[in-house]
Amino acid sequence: MKKALKRYWPVFVLPTLLAFLIGFVIPFVQGLYLTFCKFVTINKTTFVGLKNYAYAFTDASFLHSFWFTAAFAVLSTVLINVIALAIALALTRNMKGANIHRTVFFMPNLIGGIVLGYIWLILLNCALSLMGKHLIALNATYGFWGLIILTCWQQIGYMMIIYIAGLQSIPSDYLEAAKIDGATAWQTLWKVKIPNLMSSITICLFLSLTNGFKLFDQNLALTGGDPGHASEMLALNIYNTFYARAGQQWKGYGQAKAALFCILVILISMIQLRSTRSKEVQQ
């Protein structure tokens, strides 16, 4: 069978492979090379070594956006997962209307980041102006919390779905056994439910953490980085370095920042992969 199949490789693999080369491999390799170059277009490049990276590390706006993003990613990860797990626990209790609630909480996921950002911009600006405060574009703190609220609203439903699936796959014998042994609800949660949910928890933590670091659409639509660059997150900072400023040095800086960003995201993924693996061994 293998032999017959191998002869058909141009039909089965070639289309995807060609598209993958165009859409990923070539731009990735070229992008990596360009981090060492000064350029305006791809055809006119001058090799400058590590200068772009050196600049990226001294760029105050980049460092600021790194800390802004890190704070955002950690805080949103904690909030999203705690609330999502709490909702999932409540909704798996045979409550009336649980399905309706589940449907409602998941809904924001289907709306794109740009539209979500716009909706919340209108809502938050109205709330702020009724309270007599500055609008969101004028205060980075409001921008930060606005992004947190928006991201929670969007992603809690998604994580909740994963937690519900995890909770439903816990064998009911475990829960019954705990009940017979006289465990309180609190004990059952910590000693039975959470240990059996570990794989769902790692997935959700990883998803919300990488989503937090990669956030772009919502950031662009809600704050646009205003005021100044104070609410700019990493992805938006890279985008602005590329497209908001002209000149050959900026493009190289942008590409170097993108490479650093890429390394950061890969590192997080590798840590996650390792932690999932080590837990699989234990079971």
Partner: protein, 280 residues
């Protein structure tokens, strides 16, 4: 004990009803604003319901639909999403079946690259990818699906591979012995077995491509072709007078079809999301 449980359940029901209402409020607010007259939509009255004075009926919707931009953007978004998802489903499932069954060194390398591409953020590629797309003339809504196939192949191939690994080889071998060539085996035997994975992958990719902003914005010539996310961002970013009424109507018109589709095939969407998350 039973009584206590009952009261907690009542409290939870009330609490969650309020929470659910709060959850849909932002969408409800846009709906209400979209029914107001242009002049009465201002920053600090967004929460007010339309009154007899400010109620505009369907006027904003008529304006939004009759403006050329919206219907065009909707059309482009539909074309891009449908072609890209179709291409991704067919090509990636075939590729995944091949690399799982052959599984030699080249296939393993490809698999590794596909998985690697899932992790790389778009910002790393955006500049080079958009210039390559320009060079190859892949910058119209009709052929941008090639770019989506390339950039989105990672997750799809990965999910299909995960499923193919669980299909017993014997079924396919039997088909081959009975005289099917690999193409027939794939389309008559493997494809029907993989139907649930097609649905899951299709839903995940649709959700991504329908809402994607940056890739089409950079790749397409955005003065000529605007998708819905690009159109909305364009409105928001443009200085000067923005017609808020039609704008709100536009948002409602983009959200509504998505919500209707969601309510109709909720079961599949939620299954697809769980499958994607567990594997991703």
């Amino acid at each position: 004990m039973a009584k206590r449980e009952k009261t907690t359940n009542t409290i939870l029901t009330v609490f969650f009803t309020i929470l659910s209402l709060a959850w849909v409020y932002p969408m409800f607010m846009i709906l209400m604003d979209s029914l107001k007259k242009e002049s009465s939509i201002t920053t600090n009255t967004a929460f007010q319901l339309p009154s007899a004075d400010t109620f505009a009926g369907a006027e904003n919707y008529v304006n939004a639909v009759s403006s050329k931009g919206f219907l065009q953007a909707l059309g482009y978004t539909v074309i891009i999403t449908v072609t890209s998802v179709a291409v991704i489903l067919i090509c990636c499932s075939m590729c995944a079946w091949f690399i799982t069954r052959i599984n030699d060194r080249a296939c393993k390398l490809m698999y590794f690259l596909f998985v690697f591409s899932m992790v790389v953020p778009f910002q790393m590629l955006m500049f080079t990818l958009s210039s390559i797309a320009d060079k190859l003339n892949l910058n119209t809504p009709f052929n941008i699906c090639i770019i989506y196939l390339g950039f989105g192949a990672g997750l799809s191939v990965f999910m299909f591979c995960g499923f193919v690994k669980n299909i017993p080889v014997e079924v396919e071998e039997a088909a081959m012995i009975d005289g099917c060539n690999p193409l027939q085996t794939f389309f008559k035997i493997v494809l029907p077995i993989m139907k649930p994975t097609y649905i899951s992958v299709g839903i995940l990719e649709t959700m991504w491509i329908w809402n994607d902003y940056l890739l089409p914005y950079l790749v397409l010539d955005s003065t000529k072709y605007k998708t819905i996310p690009i159109l909305i961002q364009y409105f928001r970013g443009s200085y000067g007078k923005v017609e808020m009424g039609p704008m709100m109507a536009c948002i409602m018109l983009t959200i509504l079809p998505v919500i209707i589709v969601y309510l109709a095939c909720q079961k599949y969407i939620i299954k697809g999301v769980v499958a994607g998350a567990v594997k991703g």
